[in-house]
């Protein structure tokens, strides 16, 4: 089922000229972020007209690979070659990849909520007569495309009036309007309910019949097994295997084994085994509604943390873990709390502002140190003392010398590598930034420290130091709740762990009894048939 390759382009000398069964081949792709190897010699090949699923844990490199394909990481920022339709291809931006028929639909849809369906479909490549947009033709074409994706909505409806499932289909219609040959979907069903998911998968099969090749990233292994012709597994930036489902039955456990397939080695420092103390933190029936996305983001969450304990919070991206932390810690996003109670240090508590939470003895190290962790234009000293400046204030005045002394103490204790505490944090490496972010909270001396992805994007050495620090802190009696998408880290560091999926706690286990496989199967909700659709998105009203 070969399709005609386009013949308009000249042949580069190194390229193969035969139209092969491969639509896309990525060979030996290496992508570095500073000193971190995000992709290490990845090979990824897609046949014409197939549905190819890409699976792997968070951080395995799936999104990075797709960003290279979309031109978001332009040619030159990575090593390796891309062959598309048999020719070597160099992509320098989204416009380049669009031109040759590659379209990516990200999990966070890039749509314009205030514009109509037909305007969204043709935005950026409007149908023009001369220089003027022909709206009538646009409307007719949009209706045809909507029919093709089997979506019955008024093309004049505003995007914001539609549910997320329908928006996804509109995004596909947009890709079709650009004559897409290779459609890439990044976790398309993550935010969909079952009906919408089934509908979408059906459509992908139909498009395959029409000759559109499709690459889908997904964490839902069952739907992967149901739809894929080929499955490629990535792990730690390396291609583990590529399995043809038509050649032989692939099972869910095959996939999970390939996705995790490692053993815990010595990267996690041991800490003195101690009996955890009294319950410090008890959350019961925590149900939270987000007015922005108009859905319940947390449902009936109940967790405990004891004194001197590290509690892991595992789950996939978007499982609601960060939202849980933010809803507890002063609720800065302005969620609406439906029900639930929090008992902290034996007292019922509810924090209306991070200040109250901090004063009560809570600390939250954010997931994204650059976005909301550090004031990057300020120095280490400024950042390290920001959350507990009161300790250094007498009368109205911040004691500058005391402050420098405190900052230097923290710099030493956390081994922040910088010439002095006057180093601007924007110039530090990721690991040292993360340590500065931690320093800020250690200085506040909290009773409970919530760490959100504490080692994301930092090198192994800095990771080890942070783990050691965590051990010291719990040995001193602090409690830690660690949110992490790295299963090994969760298993290696936690005493006890919870697994979250779709805003709910779907499992609790001691770290000793858990395995990566068991956590993964809980987090992907495989084996669960009793799922209720919680995604009550507002349906079309226009």
């Amino acid at each position: 089922m070969h399709r005609k390759g386009d013949t308009a382009r000249s042949e580069p000398p190194s390229a193969r000229t035969e139209p092969s069964e491969w639509l896309l081949e990525m060979r030996g792709i290496v992508k570095m972020f500073r000193s971190v190897r995000a992709l290490d010699n990845v090979c990824f090949a897609v046949k014409r007209g197939e549905i190819h699923c890409l699976v792997g844990e968070n951080g395995a490199g799936k999104s990075t690979l797709m960003k290279i394909l979309s031109g978001a990481h332009p040619y030159g920022s990575y090593e390796g070659d891309i062959f598309y339709q048999g020719r070597e291809t160099r992509l320098n931006g989204a416009a380049d990849s669009e031109k040759i028929g590659i379209a990516i639909i990200y999990q966070e849809l890039a749509q314009f909520p205030e514009l109509t369906v037909y305007e969204n479909i043709f935005i950026g490549h409007e149908l023009r007569d001369g220089g003027v947009i022909n709206w009538n033709r646009t409307l007719v074409e949009a209706s045809k495309l909507l029919e093709r994706v089997r979506l019955k909505v008024n093309p004049r409806a505003k995007i914001k009036s539609l549910g997320v499932g329908k928006r996804q289909l509109i995004e596909i219609a947009k890709a079709l309007s650009k004559n897409v040959k290779l459609l890439i979907l990044d976790e398309p069903t993550a935010a969909l309910n079952d009906d919408d998911s089934d509908n979408l998968l059906c459509l992908i099969r139909e498009l395959k019949g029409q000759g559109v090749t499709c690459v889908m990233i997904s964490h839902k292994l069952r739907e992967v097994l149901a739809i894929a012709d080929t499955i490629t597994v990535l792990r730690d930036g390396v291609t583990v295997c590529s399995m043809d489902t038509r050649a032989g039955a692939v099972t869910e456990s095959d996939l999970i084994r390939n996705m995790v397939g490692r053993s815990i080695d010595d990267i996690y420092p041991k800490r003195a085994q101690s009996q955890p103390g009294d319950v410090l933190f008890a959350l019961r029936g925590w149900t939270v509604y987000d007015p922005m996305s108009e859905r319940e983001i947390l449902r009936n969450v109940s967790i405990d943390a004891r004194k001197g304990e590290i509690v892991g919070l595992a789950g996939l991206m978007g499982a609601g873990r960060t939202e849980l932390a933010l809803s507890l810690f002063g609720n800065t996003p302005g969620y609406r709390l439906i029900s639930g109670s929090l008992e902290f240090k034996g007292k019922l508590a509810r924090f209306a502002h991070p200040r109250q939470a901090i004063d009560a003895g809570l600390a939250y190290v954010t997931e994204d140190r650059k976005k909301n962790g550090l004031v990057l234009i300020q120095d280490i000293r400024f950042n390290a003392t920001l959350s507990a400046l009161r300790k250094l204030t007498s009368g109205m005045i911040v004691n500058g010398n005391e402050e420098i002394r405190a900052a230097e103490g923290l710099k030493k204790a956390l081994n922040i590598k910088a010439p002095s505490v006057f180093q601007v944090t924007g110039n530090l490496s990721g690991g040292n930034q993360q340590k500065t972010s931690l320093a800020k909270w250690i200085f506040a001396k909290p009773d409970l420290l919530i760490l959100d992805e504490p080692t994301r994007g930092i090198d192994v050495g800095a990771k080890y130091e942070i783990y050691t620090l965590m051990n010291q802190l719990v040995e001193q009696g602090m409690s830690i709740i660690m949110i992490s998408s790295e299963l090994l880290e969760i298993l290696g560091m936690s005493d006890r762990l919870y697994v979250m999926a779709e805003g709910r706690i779907v499992g609790e286990t001691s770290a000793r009894d858990a395995s990566e496989q068991s956590i993964m199967s809980m987090a992907t909700l495989s084996g669960r048939d009793d799922r209720t659709t919680h995604d009550q998105t507002r349906e079309e009203t226009a």
Binding site: F329, G330, T332, H353, P354, R355, I358, D359, Y364, T366, K371, N372, G373, L374, V375, L376, I377, Q378, D379, F382, L386, S387, L389, R390, T393, M396, I397, V398, G400, N401, I404, P419, S420, V421, F422, Q423, V424, K440
Partner: protein, 401 residues
């Protein structure tokens, strides 16, 4: 010890002639002084020294006063990434109310606190909208521009221009500190203050040098240090010497000095000041670190309108009257002063002391061109050009840093 600029550069970056590298590290700050120096030389030459005469220098200080206090408040507003367009008419309106109260026989010592309190009330209204209701500051204060312009009109409708006869009130922007020593043509008290000022400048430079040493920063060579020290001390002495040969230190300078000291203290030494810089640097991180962003924003707008009211008092005092057009374009001068003084257009960076220099640059341009008889149309064009050059230079030099 200074909180907001990186003083000097760390050891490892050492290289090149020391003066050059020091200049490079602080190019942004020096550029402003160089600009001011060039302006003084050019206008001094173009006006045959008239620009640099004691009388004109005194005038310059009195003209700068009402803009400088506005610019100090504006600096904070701009650091936290907001803007206040209403300050001009708030100043005009408050000045008119002051003139009206005085003309009805209210005592000047009652008028001042009333006006300042009214300023705070206006600030509370705008601060509430920006901080709590989350109306963008641009919109809130644009509406304020309409409203307070209307208020100013209302107050002056019946009477037209309101003349101020109160001598105490008029002395704020026209009077001088008394001379207790009755020098012969020389204002002794002014000279004494000048000497004290020079000593304070020297002491602070010594202290900052000592601190930089202690924390292992590169310090300038002894000769460079001696040079800059002598220069700054000489500058203070010369300015006061000239003032002393005219009528002495103007009250405006005293008022601006006090405002500057208070705001400099708050920004560099108190947790509130830290919050301002934290919000400007990264609002989300500040909020999650326990900074009450809404409260600080509210206070910043209160302080802004309080200073606008003070500016109104100074301007009305200087004009000895309140007119229906008072306040026109003040916000432009205040915003330009802050940016020329090194406030970052992306927020989080700025110092009120530098803003004062920025205000001097703007007012020197106006004053000098007035002396030269340059048409007002060209004045606006030139001021606009210098403003945009300063900001573009700031952005480029920050990008390279």
């Amino acid at each position: 010890m200074n909180a907001q600029t990186q003083i000097g550069i760390p050891h490892e970056k050492r290289g090149g002639p020391p003066i050059l590298s020091l200049l490079k590290a602080n190019i942004r700050e020096y550029a402003m002084y160089i600009a001011l120096l060039v302006i003084f030389i050019v206008f001094g030459a173009a006006t045959n020294g008239l620009f640099l005469s004691p009388r004109n220098l005194t005038d310059l200080i009195n003209q700068t006063g009402y803009v400088a206090v506005l610019a100090v408040g504006m600096t904070i507003i701009l650091i936290i990434k907001h803007i206040d367009l209403s300050v001009g008419y708030v100043a005009g309106f408050m000045g008119a109310v002051a003139a009206m109260l005085l003309s009805r026989g209210t005592h000047v010592l009652a008028v001042i606190p009333i006006i300042l309190a009214l300023g705070i009330v206006i600030g509370m209204y705008q601060g509430f909208l920006v901080a709590k209701v989350k109306v963008p500051a641009f919109v809130t204060t644009l509406a304020g521009m309409f409203i307070f312009r209307g208020c100013l009109s209302r107050v002056t409708t019946a009477t037209g221009t309101i003349i101020v006869r109160d001598t105490v009130f008029r002395s704020f922007s026209n009077g001088f500190i008394p001379d207790w020593f009755h020098g012969n043509g020389i204002h002794i008290l002014t000279l004494m203050i000048g000497v004290l000022g020079a000593l304070a400048v020297a002491a602070s430079q010594f202290r900052s040098r000592r601190n930089m040493r202690r924390y292992d920063f590169k310090v300038s060579s002894p000769s460079t240090f001696a040079g800059t020290l002598a220069l700054s001390v000489a500058l203070v002495i010369v300015v006061f010497w000239m003032l002393a040969h005219y009528k002495g230190l103007p009250w405006t300078a005293v008022i601006v000095g006090v405002v500057l000291l208070i705001y400099h203290f708050i920004l560099s030494k108190t947790p509130l000041g830290r919050s301002v810089y934290a919000i400007g640097g990264n609002t989300e991180a500040a909020e999650l670190s326990g900074v009450n962003v809404a409260k600080v924003t509210f206070l910043a707008f209160c302080s802004m309108s309080l200073l606008a009211a003070l500016s109104g008092i100074l301007y009305t005092s200087r004009m000895a009257s309140a007119t229906p057009t008072a306040g026109l374009g003040f916000e432009m001068d205040a915003i330009a002063s802050s940016y020329i003084g090194g406030v970052s257009v992306s927020g989080g960076v700025g110092k009120v002391t530098n803003t004062l220099v920025g205000a001097l640059v703007i007012i020197s341009l106006t004053n000098g061109m007035n002396l030269m008889g340059v048409d007002i149309s060209f004045q606006y064009m030139l001021k606009g050009a210098i403003f945009i050059l300063a900001v573009a230079f700031d952005i480029i030099s920050r990008r390279q840093a």
